[in-house]
């Protein structure tokens, strides 16, 4: 019983999750840098490239990839991994690359603003 998200609830909780809104950015960037990858590889890449600070759960990843397919940011094709398992490989589209640039600039704009605020004396 009780699925649902306690999220980073209240005090004294040091778990790190993906800040809402940044998962697309992370996936887009990962595909841009590493090229064609399947879901498991994307999650693994994000986790390792953030030194385990961020961990993408499967229940977040696959729905996000579906939405990105619908938006046309990625295409998918079934294939076989080196470990001989079937997997769905994702590739960035031109629209996806454009979206990545947009998300990066928005991220920098907003996070820069917040960073300036929290650095105020």
């Amino acid at each position: 019983m009780t699925a649902g998200t306690p999220r980073n609830s209240d005090l004294g909780d040091s778990r790190d999750e993906i800040p809402p809104g940044t998962l697309y950015l992370l996936i887009l960037k990962t595909l841009a840098v590493r090229g064609k990858l399947h879901g498991y590889e994307i999650a693994d890449n994000i986790q390792r490239s953030t030194d385990d600070i961020l961990q993408v759960e499967e229940g977040s990843l696959y729905p996000a990839l579906q939405r990105m397919l619908i938006k046309g940011w990625v295409t998918a094709e079934w294939g076989i991994t080196s470990g001989n398992r079937r997997a769905r490989y994702y590739t960035l589209t031109t629209a996806g690359r454009k979206q990545l640039r947009l998300e990066v600039s928005q991220f920098e704009r907003v996070m820069g603003a917040i960073t300036r605020v929290i650095q105020t004396v």
Copy 2:
């Protein structure tokens, strides 16, 4: 009919909203820097201190302040503004100051990780 949030949906949308999870941080920091303020003043301060990049809607602000009261991060007292209007003044508690330190360090940790990822070649 149809309230609800389109949020920053999809392409070509340049509106800036508060990234989920950072509103507490902004409110806490504003109170820490400016001292006792009422709701309107808090919203106004956030907007001006971010050069209008971030705008807190009243429907986000007041519920957040209620939650912060319950969590014990702030106390509230009714008073009269310089413009002779009744208003609810908020003050940081010790727990609130502690929470601020926690939120700042989490923000820096997570945003630092994401920033490193998006700066990858």
